[in-house]
């Protein structure tokens, strides 16, 4: 992490010129969604100058930590590598001119303060636009810059709730679930990156203000949840995968998904070395439906004999589209991810590095 800011452009994760080489980004973000947006911009070659308050981004104190437990935490480090960092108290009126100066030399400003905060500090859209008419300002917030929920507070679990994902996530006899890591914020970071580049493509003499709502990023991606009501009046609930072919099922050392959609089940039984699954009554879709409980119980017993990766790679080699629950620890050794060069080393503390995902885009 650089200390007080020089001006040399950052390079993307590969060290080569990325598509955004030469794009200058002023990063006024904290926590996850904003920093991930600017992290992806940096990955793709943009030069990111990041401003944190004197106390630093509060995310620095979030776990997990590197061995020894020192801050910053690994989430902070993952989101903020490859950026230049300066410390500035944006709420101090003296900082205003400095920010406007930096904005004059930037193509993009990304921020995720609560709506209205930048205006209160005199560095909102109007002031930034006056300082640099071609600037793109991307504002990411929980609910957007307008509307009755604008000032509501939220974390990921609240976004998953109001965005409609939680209601269809979990068992039908228990409370809804949220993801085990901040997926909603991460995803909004990706959507915000796309919106920023779309706005950059459309800059003429004027830039614009992009308003990204995390709740809407979730609510836009629920497949048939909304159409079930708008087409049929039905309100769907969670638990649909329980006990089906797509259910996560325990195996000898973890979990797999025995979803051999459209497969010849006598072959699948052969692969599994389980003649009991090749029984006549299980060979057709109708048969498996009629004897659903018995089929499921037989499959559960068979899978106990299998180890995760032997089942997954073996069945896939036979052509069955099955799945496996693979942990990050297991994936670090994945031949697939290794061969594709998916990991890169990030410095987490002086002299200590950790492999981290490079990002999903390969151009």
């Amino acid at each position: 992490m650089n200390e007080d800011g020089g001006g040399s452009p950052a390079r993307g994760a590969t060290g080569q010129a990325g598509p955004l080489e030469g794009v200058r980004v002023l990063d006024l973000t904290h926590y996850v969604a904003g920093p991930y947006c600017t992290r992806v911009l940096a990955d793709q070659g943009a030069a990111v100058l990041r401003i944190e308050p004197p106390g630093g981004d509060p995310l620095r104190s979030w776990p997990p930590f590197p061995p020894g437990g020192q801050e910053p935490g690994l989430l902070y480090t993952y989101l903020n590598c490859d950026k230049e960092l300066i410390t500035l108290d944006l709420s101090d009126p003296a900082a205003r001119e400095r920010v406007l100066d930096l904005a004059r030399n930037s193509d993009v400003v990304v921020e995720n303060f609560r709506p209205g905060t930048l205006d209160r500090w005199g560095i909102g859209w109007e002031a930034l636009h006056r300082a640099n008419p071609r600037l793109v300002l991307t504002s990411i917030s929980n609910f957007g810059q307008t509307g009755p929920y604008r000032d509501y507070r939220a974390w990921d679990i609240v976004e998953d709730a109001l965005g409609g994902l939680a209601y269809i996530h979990g068992a039908d006899d228990r409370q809804p679930l949220t993801h085990g890591n901040p997926q909603a914020q991460y995803r909004a970071g990706v959507v915000a990156t796309s919106a920023t580049i779309a706005a950059l493509l459309n800059v003429d003499d004027e830039g614009e203000h992009v308003d990204v709502s995390i709740m809407e990023c979730i609510a836009s991606t629920l497949r048939d949840t909304i159409p079930q009501y708008t087409f049929m009046g039905a309100v769907r609930r969670r638990g649909g995968r329980q006990g089906g072919a797509g259910a996560i099922t325990r195996c000898a050392d973890g979990w797999v998904i025995p979803s051999a959609y459209g497969a010849d089940y006598s072959l699948f039984a052969n692969f599994l070395e389980a003649p009991e699954l090749g029984d006549e009554k299980f060979l057709t879709g109708d048969g498996r439906q009629t004897h659903a409980a018995e089929f499921r119980q037989t499959m559960v017993e068979v899978l106990k004999r299998w180890k995760t990766m032997e089942f997954f790679e073996g069945a896939q080699t036979w052509g069955f589209g099955v799945g496996a629950v693979i942990s990050p620890l297991q994936n670090l050794d994945s031949s697939q991810l290794r061969e594709r060069g998916f990991f890169r080393d990030i410095e987490v503390s002086p002299g200590q590095t950790a492999p981290a995902p490079k990002g999903g885009i390969r151009i």
Binding site: P19, V40, P64, Q145, G147, R153, A154, I157, A161, G164, A166, Y167, H169, G170, A171, L177, N181, Q183, Y186, A188, V190, S194, A198, A199, L201, V210, D211, E216, C217, A219, S220, T221, L222, R223, I226, P227, T230, F231, G233, A234, V235, R237, R241, I248, R250, S259, Q316, G319, G321, G323, S327, P328, L329, Q336, R340, A356, G360, I361, R362, I363
Partner: protein, 457 residues
Amino acid sequence: MKKAPLAGIRVIEHGQLLAVPFAARMLADLGAEVIKIEAAIRLDSHRQTTYPDNDPGAHFWDRGGTYHNENRGKLGITLDLRNPIAIEVCKDLVRISDVVVENFTTRVMQQFGLDYAELVKIKPDIIMMSSTGYGHTGPWKDFKAVGPTTESASGVAVTTGYDGLDPVMADIPYTDYVAADQNVLGVLLALYRRTRTGRGSDVDISQVEAQASLAGELYMDAALNGTSHAPHGNRHPMMAPHDFFPCAGEDRWCAIAVSSDEEWRRLQEAMGNPAWAADARFAALAGRQANLAELDAKLAEWTRAFEAFELMTLLQANGVAAGVAQTGRDLVFNEHLAARGFFDWVTPPASTEIPEKPYSGTGWHFSESEHGLRRGAPLLGEHNEYVLRNILGYSAEKYATIVASGALGGAPEEFNRPHPVALEVLQRQGRVVEIDPDYLEHLRRFKETHPPNGSSK
């Protein structure tokens, strides 16, 4: 206002299910002209689900609600790619297009002679975005994938589920959407590069990698600390309480997340300062974490008396992060989303007999750029003649020859008529919590009282 960001950009979509069709819809939202190519003889399964009133109707393939939601704003043509004339039509389209997006398994485009290596010969600056489960290279490149299996392979699913039990994924192919978001990003990055260098690109997106990149801290934690991740319920290391709490009514829940001791004091005030909450064990985060089961149970006793939205409003008024676990129905009638113009109200062609309905929008709003054309999803082959005659400029004779050759594919009539499971059965099975027989009237009345503003801001 200015033109839409992708106005003048033409995108050819060879997409099925979600990851690419939804990405192409987002590109259409941004103003691109998207031409969706489908095979009439191999119907997308999203065309075959969620029918109006659960009734497939005569042309069932044009009545699927999920299809309509994910494919708005596009033109649609049918081609049978096994026919060499259809391949020539594809290539002619590529010659006048900017972007090709596809999510076939890895070898399909190559078999059709439509892979990147072939397309650059006829359109040197073409951008091709391929979205697959595991990527176009590596030992797993030919593995079959659907959203749930890539989510489970990404390292994210193992962290999600009830404490101490098996992982649980959401009832949608979540990672398809994660991939769709990055498919859009990949296309935009390639377009940005093309404006500066004039060069096209081959964009290879792996769903597993797209999802794993949204979990960097888990990978670093595993590498440095040897952590073996497991489901941990709704617990959060920096917040307590942090869970869904029951409310009045059937299966109603409100999320509550307390991220500081100050917020805990505000929650106590919202509850009217009950004696149990003043317990010193709960005053600081560490104590609330250590006694979480007891705290959650006490809190749930209090929340149960409230209607979910009433609870959310009360807690937010007290500065506590809270949100109702909204159903599909709640979302459609949500005042906040309506005020922001989140839903697009469109009417598909009359032959579908689908009236005007709201469809979910996207998470971005532009202050100056126009939204792409707002129109319903294309019927199967709806724009065959328009695209071939008006966009490709084929003569009437040439078009007739192509039709006669069978290159536009057979008729979906060959398919068996689907027989959807009755809603009452789904309700008995617990898949549906409620059926609103007056949903059309409720939609109509909501639109009257909340006129859509027709713009994205």
